[in-house]
């Protein structure tokens, strides 16, 4: 499991508006990569292009290539459904299915495409995924209860359990802690640290301390002004980005002078 992602000359458009311009980035397998930058700089938009979730928004399209271990996601013969089953996503707001129990939420992705799974395999997978998301001990006695009855932090870890239950190659996280309290945030950050031994993790965050804590590499995105496209300004080891950035804009941002 876990593959690398290479992005070549990627432009993202909303209809005619160029939202993100000319991104080239290589994301290593089994690592945590953080995207930071001011609001509206296109980092979430770019993240969504890594599993074609931007296509949910009418008019959104890309030019360029995104390679998952060398296979282009945007090849005309590639179905976005296949892409998304291999590249999971965790959203800003926890979104477990309210009509499903905790157990069914974890199994939701596994049961897609009419795949059958025996009850004992399902039980084992639910436990493994919930343990993987550091949630097992909190919910093991109420797996049949609705997922929406959990706290926000627990819901988000349930969403992570749901994402890892399908054994994806990559997990994308779009500001996964921005709706959570500090303790839940800490729980998710610990979890991200555990996940990188098995998965490629890409996380968008507004919280620079978080980027510094969890990631090995950091990409800084910025925008020249409203109406201008977002750009990847600098990409490198997290320690370098925060301590010895090579770009002035990066230095200003990480030192809190703007944004």
């Amino acid at each position: 499991m876990s593959k690398r992602i290479d992005v070549k000359d990627l432009n993202v458009y909303y209809s005619k508006f160029l939202a993100v311009e000319d991104v080239n980035i290589n994301i290593e397998a089994r690592s945590v990569t953080a995207f930071i930058g001011p609001s509206g700089c296109g980092k979430s938009t770019f993240l969504r292009t890594l599993n074609r979730m931007h296509e949910v928004i009418p008019g959104a399209r890309v030019e360029g290539e995104v390679l998952l271990d060398g296979d282009n996601l945007y090849d005309s013969a590639v179905d976005p459904v296949t892409v998304r089953s291999q590249i999971g996503m965790v959203f800003q707001r926890p979104n477990p299915f309210p009509t499903m129990s905790i157990r069914d939420n974890v199994l939701a992705g596994v049961k897609l495409n009419n795949r059958r799974i025996s009850k004992s395999d399902a039980d084992a997978l639910v436990e493994k995924s919930l343990r993987g998301a550091n949630l097992w001990n909190e919910v093991k006695d109420r797996l049949a209860r609705p997922g929406s009855g959990l706290s926000g932090g627990q819901q988000q870890r349930l969403c992570i359990a749901r994402a890892i239950a399908v054994s994806p190659e990559v997990i994308l996280m779009d500001e996964p802690c921005s709706a959570l309290d500090p303790i839940s945030t800490l729980a998710i950050e610990d979890l991200i640290n555990d996940l990188k031994s098995e998965y490629t993790v890409v996380i968008v965050t507004h919280n620079m301390q978080q980027a510094a804590r969890v990631s090995e590499k950091t990409a800084f995105f910025n925008i020249a002004g409203t109406g201008k496209p977002g750009k990847l300004i600098e990409y490198g080891n997290t320690t370098d980005i925060f301590n010895v950035p090579s770009e002035k804009a990066t230095e200003d941002y990480v030192s809190g002078r703007f944004g």
């Binding site: 979730m53 949910v56 499903m100 939701a108 897609l112 609705p146 749901r162």
Partner: protein
Amino acid sequence: MSTNALRRTGGGGQSGDRIFSGASLAAGCLILGVLFSVAVFLIIQALPVFGADPAEITGGEGFFTYIFPIVIGTVIAAAIALLIATPLGIGVALFISHYAPRRFAQPFGYVIDLLAAIPSVVYGAWGYSVLAPQLALAYDWLARNMGWIPIFEGPASQTGRTMLTAGIVLAVMVLPIITSLSREIFLQTPSLHEEAALAMGATRWEMITMAVLPFARPGIISAAMLGLGRALGETMAVALVLSGGGLTASLIQSGNQTIAAEIALNFPEAFGLRLSELIAAGLVLFVITLAVNMIARWIISRHKEFSGAN
């Protein structure tokens, strides 16, 4: 000093609040009052029937024997209508909300809503003069080839004015109700949950079964119940389309009757005990509708904690 700066000053905001709460209370009481007075009217007017000599009731064997066939007829007509209109309405609503291109979806929705604006007497006339003769040919085929199933037993009606035709006309009439309500609910599915499904690699249909339909379930049930209410109570269309008669299992022969049509067809000439009979029939319809709605509420509330409302 006893003056408290935080004490009420009687500003306009508070009086507005009082007026609004009073008005909404009055509206609520009015509804209950209307419902109550209708129920009281039905019960008082129907009372003579229950004390009467069974031989004096139409049919000569008491009220139960009189009312039973038309209760069954009413339920059958409404059931046919719902069986056809619910899946169709959900399908059309899903098409409008999730499949059709936007510029096409809106006009399509308006056309469906227009169906609701057609008066029921027009539906009746259409069913009588256009639909029934067409269906008569199909009924003939059904009777010859599938006549071994009791509901398709021949000889088929030559005019096509049967229970099945009435049910189909009712289905067309309740379709816009089910479609518009379902469409509104489908459009309100949180995009959060739709994206959750898509991001796991769900196809569009899987996303719909995973996020949209479970979310919309209580709404679909309510929509079907509103449709059922219309189908149970529909008078004019059934009275025109159905060539009524005694209870038969076959849906493609003439026969059967519904409560609403029975009342409408006989009311003008009814007086005395006959009038009480028809009003008692109305009371039975009232009770059926009430029971159906309560069952629907119960079905919805059974899954309350999984509704996402918490």
